[in-house]
C-alpha cells in the first residue's frame, strides 16, 4: 500500500484543522466514539455545526488556547492509499515546526482564507515548502462559502499567488489550485455544485492521483551504512553484511561501487531483504548488502556507484533553519548529523539572514534566533560525503545538535 505524507500549513484561523477533520469525516475515517466526542464538545461549546477541528487538536494546552502548537500526525486511508498528515501550526513563531513537518512530507497543502487572500503567512508557507523542495503543492483556497463561491475572487487570489511563484527558487514545483469550503465540505472529498466554474479535481481526487513522479525527483543512489551485521553463527560464519536504507535511486547486484571515505572499489555481491535475496534494492528500502571484496566498513561510511560520487569535503555552505532559543553565533561549535554520520562542526560565517516571506535578505546579522532562516558556512573536523540539497533531498540535508543539551537545534540544506 502506498503511503503519502502531507504537510499542511495555514494561519491560525484559516480552517486547517477543520479541513483535516473534513477529510477524515468525508472519507469515513472518524470512528463513532471520536465522532461522538466531537458532537458532544461542539454542543458544549454552543455550535450549531460539527467542529471538526476538535478531531485534531491534541494536547490539553492547545485545547485551552484553541490553537495547534506542535506537529501532530493524523492518519486516514482510502482503498487506494494511506495518508499521513503532518499538521503544523501557522503562526510566525513556529517556522521550526513547519520546516520539520515539510521535511518528512512529499506533498504540501497551503491554505488560504478566501476573504483574506494571499497574506504574509502565505508567503512564508510557500517559501518553506519551496525551500524544502516539496515537489507537489496544493493551494486550497478555503472558506469559499463566505465569498459566495465567487469565481472572480478565486481568480484574484490565484493571480496573487502566481505572482509569488515567479520568485521561487525551485521552479519545478508542481502547483494546483482548488476552491474549497472545509466547513461545508465543498470540493474536499465531494465535488461541489456551487462551483460550476471549476472543472478541476477535488482535494482528495488530486491526492489519489499523485504518483511517484509527482513526489520524488530523479536522483542517484546513496547508501549510508547504518549497522554492520556479523552473525558469527555456524551457518553464517564469515558473513559480513552492511545494513542501511537506499536513498535517491536504486542499487543492483553486480553494480560497481566505491566505499567512502576509503574510496575502495568493489562490487555488490548480494542484496538481502530479511531472508530473501533480491536483485535490486529500490529507493527507500531497508536492505542488507554484501560486497565481493573483504573491505573494512563501519557505520557512517557510504556505498555509492563508482561513476556517481558525492562531494567529499570538510566544509560547506548551507541554508539553515534555526530551532533553538539559544542563538547561533559565528565561532560556535555543534555536532552536525548528516544521515547517520555525526561530526563536530564550527560555524565559520553567517552570510545573511533570509526573510522567509520573499522580502529579501539581511546581511548585517551577527546571530541567529529561533525560527530564523539563514545562509551559513561550516567547517568540520572530518569530511562528510554530501550532495547539494537541490540534487539530493536526503544526502543534501543535515541536523545540528547542541553538544551540551543534546537537543536538535537546527536543520540545514547544503548549497
Amino acid at each position: 500500500m502506498e503511503v503519502l505524507k502531507i504537510a499542511t500549513a495555514g494561519s491560525v484561523d484559516d480552517g486547517k484543522s477543520t479541513l483535516i477533520g473534513r477529510l477524515l469525516y468525508d472519507t469515513k475515517s472518524l470512528t463513532s466514539d471520536k465522532l461522538e466526542a466531537i458532537e458532544n464538545k461542539s454542543k458544549q461549546l454552543g455550535y450549531d455545526y460539527l467542529d471538526f477541528s476538535l478531531a485534531t487538536d491534541g494536547l490539553v494546552a492547545e485545547r485551552e488556547q484553541g490553537i495547534t502548537i506542535d506537529v501532530a500526525h493524523i492518519y486516514f486511508s482510502t482503498a487506494n492509499k494511506s495518508y499521513i498528515i503532518a499538521d503544523t501550526p501557522g503562526h510566525v513563531e513556529y517556522t521550526r515546526n513547519m520546516v520539520t513537518g515539510a521535511s518528512t512530507s512529499q506533498v504540501a497543502i497551503v491554505l488560504i482564507d478566501a476573504r483574506k487572500g494571499v497574506i504574509e503567512q502565505t508567503n512564508r508557507h510557500f517559501f518553506i515548502n519551496n525551500l524544502l523542495r516539496i515537489k507537489t503543492v496544493i493551494v486550497a483556497i478555503n472558506k469559499m462559502d463566505l465569498v459566495d463561491f465567487s469565481e472572480e475572487r478565486y481568480n484574484e487570489i490565484k493571480a496573487d499567488f502566481e505572482a509569488l511563484m515567479s520568485k521561487r527558487d525551485y521552479q519545478d514545483q508542481k502547483i494546483t489550485f482548488i476552491p474549497v469550503s472545509a466547513l461545508k465540505g465543498d470540493n474536499v472529498v465531494n465535488k461541489s455544485e456551487k462551483t460550476p466554474w471549476y472543472n478541476g479535481e477535488t482535494l482528495l481526487e488530486n491526492l489519489e492521483g499523485l504518483d511517484n513522479q509527482d513526489i520524488f525527483n530523479a536522483g542517484t543512489p546513496r547508501f549510508p551504512v547504518q549497522y554492520v551485521i556479523r552473525p558469527k553463527t555456524d551457518e553464517f560464519h564469515d558473513f559480513r553484511g552492511y545494513a542501511g536504507k537506499v536513498y535517491g535511486g536504486e542499487l543492483s547486484v553486480g553494480d560497481d561501487v566505491v566505499i567512502l571515505p576509503s574510496q575502495t572499489k568493489s562490487k555488490i555481491k548480494e542484496i538481502h531483504f530479511y531472508d530473501k535475496k533480491v536483485q535490486t534494492a529500490s529507493r527507500r528500502s531497508s536492505v542488507l548488502i554484501t560486497l565481493e571484496d573483504d573491505v573494512n566498513i563501519s557505520r557512517g561510511d557510504m556505498i555509492v556507484r563508482a561513476n556517481d560520487l558525492p562531494t567529499m569535503d570538510k566544509q560547506f555552505t548551507a541554508t539553515i533553519s534555526w530551532m533553538d532559543s539559544q542563538n547561533l553565533k559565528a565561532g560556535n561549535k555543534y555536532v552536525v548529523q548528516h544521515g547517520v554520520n555525526k561530526v563536530m562542526a564550527k560555524v565559520e560565517r553567517i552570510h545573511h539572514k533570509i526573510n522567509p516571506d520573499y522580502s529579501g535578505v539581511d546581511d548585517t546579522v551577527e546571530t541567529l534566533a529561533i525560527n530564523d532562516i539563514a545562509t551559513v558556512s561550516f567547517k568540520l573536523n572530518k569530511p562528510i560525503f554530501y550532495d547539494a540539497f537541490k540534487a539530493h533531498r536526503t544526502n543534501g540535508s543535515f541536523i545540528i545538535i547542541d553538544s551540551k543539551s543534546n537537543n536538535t537545534v537546527g536543520a540545514g540544506f547544503i548549497q
Binding site: Y227, S282, F398
Partner: protein
C-alpha cells in the same frame, strides 16, 4: 530474483529505526507485552538484523493480571526465536510498598506498571526502550516523537520535544536519561493487522473469537474473572462469543462481540469497524486528557 520496488514504506521505516537503536545506544530493550503491536515489533527486529539475532533483550512488565493465553504465547515465542526475556512484576512493587493497589469498581494495575518499568530501566541501566505505541491510537500520542527523550524520572515534557527532520534520529542523551523509541509510530491499527496477515505472524488466541464468561458494564464487555476484575453481584455473568482488539491488563481491557475467528475475518472486521481501538480501554475514558497525564508521569 525479484526487486524491492513493491516495498511497504512503513516496514522499511521501522527496520531503519530498529537499526538506529542498535547503533546509537549501549543498552536497548524491547518492551514486550504479548500484544499484537509488540509481536509485530519482534518481527521487525528480526528483519532488521537477519541473519544475526536480535541484539537486545525483551522485557515484560507483568501486572500479574494478564490473560493466561498471552503469557503462554510469550514464553513460546521467546523459546522459538532464542531471545532473552526479562520479566519484572508489578506484584513485587506492591509487596515492596512502592505502589498501592487500587480498589473498587475500576481498580486496575495498568497505572502501577509505570513504577515497575522505571525501576527496571534503572536496574538494567537501559538507555533505549522500544515500544509499540502508535500515533493513531490517541490524540496525545499523535505528537509523540520516534525518539522520545525521558528524564531520570521517566517524565515526558511535551513542550520540549526534539524536532525530527527527514530520516535523521538524534539519540544523544545524558547519563541517566533514556529514550523511548516507537518504530511503528506511523502505523494505524489496520496497518498492523494487515501486516500480521501478510507476514503470517502468529498472535495469541484471545485476538480471535472465542466463548468467554463475561459481564456488561458501562456498555463494555468484561471478562468475568473474579480474582482480577472487580464485579458487583448484580453484574450478571453471561457466556458470549467475543474477541479482544487490544490486549492489556485484564482489568482494563474490554472484549468486543465478534465472530471473527481467523486473521482474514479480523482484518475485514477492522476495516469495517467504526469504534476506535482505545474505545475498549477504560483507562483512557477516565478523562479526556487521561493519556497525556499518564505519559507525563512516565507511562509508555
Amino acid at each position: 530474483m525479484k526487486d524491492t520496488s513493491n516495498i511497504n514504506p512503513l516496514e522499511n521505516e521501522a527496520i531503519y529505526i530498529m537499526r538506529e537503536v542498535a547503533a546509537q545506544f549501549e543498552k536497548p530493550v524491547l518492551l514486550f507485552s504479548g500484544g499484537k503491536d509488540s509481536i509485530t515489533l519482534v518481527r521487525l527486529a528480526q528483519k532488521a538484523f537477519y541473519p544475526a539475532k536480535i541484539p537486545f533483550p525483551l522485557m515484560h512488565i507483568d501486572t500479574g493480571h494478564n490473560f493466561p493465553e498471552t503469557i503462554e504465547f510469550r514464553d513460546r515465542l521467546v523459546k522459538e526465536l532464542g531471545l532473552e526475556l526479562i520479566v519484572r512484576n508489578v506484584q513485587d512493587s506492591i509487596d515492596d510498598g512502592k505502589v498501592k493497589e487500587e480498589s473498587g469498581r475500576y481498580a486496575s494495575r495498568n497505572q502501577l506498571q509505570t513504577t515497575t518499568l522505571l525501576d527496571a530501566i534503572e536496574e538494567f541501566k537501559f538507555d533505549a526502550c522500544i515500544g509499540g505505541a502508535r500515533r493513531d491510537e490517541e490524540k496525545a500520542r499523535a505528537k509523540e516523537r520516534i525518539f522520545s527523550v525521558r528524564d531520570d524520572f521517566g517524565q515526558w515534557d511535551e513542550r520540549n520535544q526534539r524536532p525530527e527532520l527527514f530520516d535523521m534520529l538524534n539519540g544523544n542523551i545524558e547519563l541517566g536519561q533514556n529514550v523511548r523509541v516507537f518504530p511503528i509510530s506511523n502505523w494505524t491499527e489496520l496497518d498492523v493487522w494487515s501486516y500480521i496477515q501478510k507476514e503470517e505472524i502468529e498472535i495469541p488466541s484471545i485476538y480471535f473469537a472465542h466463548t468467554r464468561a463475561t459481564f456488561l458494564r458501562d456498555g463494555l464487555i468484561w471478562s468475568a474473572d473474579d480474582a482480577v476484575v472487580y464485579r458487583d453481584e448484580e453484574e450478571e455473568v453471561v457466556e458470549r462469543i467475543v474477541r479482544f482488539r487490544t490486549v492489556g491488563d485484564m482489568s482494563c481491557t474490554a472484549a468486543v462481540l465478534s465472530e471473527a475467528s481467523d486473521i482474514v475475518s479480523v482484518v475485514q472486521e477492522i476495516r469495517d469497524s467504526s469504534i476506535s481501538e482505545r474505545g475498549a480501554r477504560i483507562d483512557d475514558k477516565r478523562s479526556e486528557a487521561a493519556m497525556e497525564k499518564r505519559k507525563q508521569q512516565g507511562y509508555f
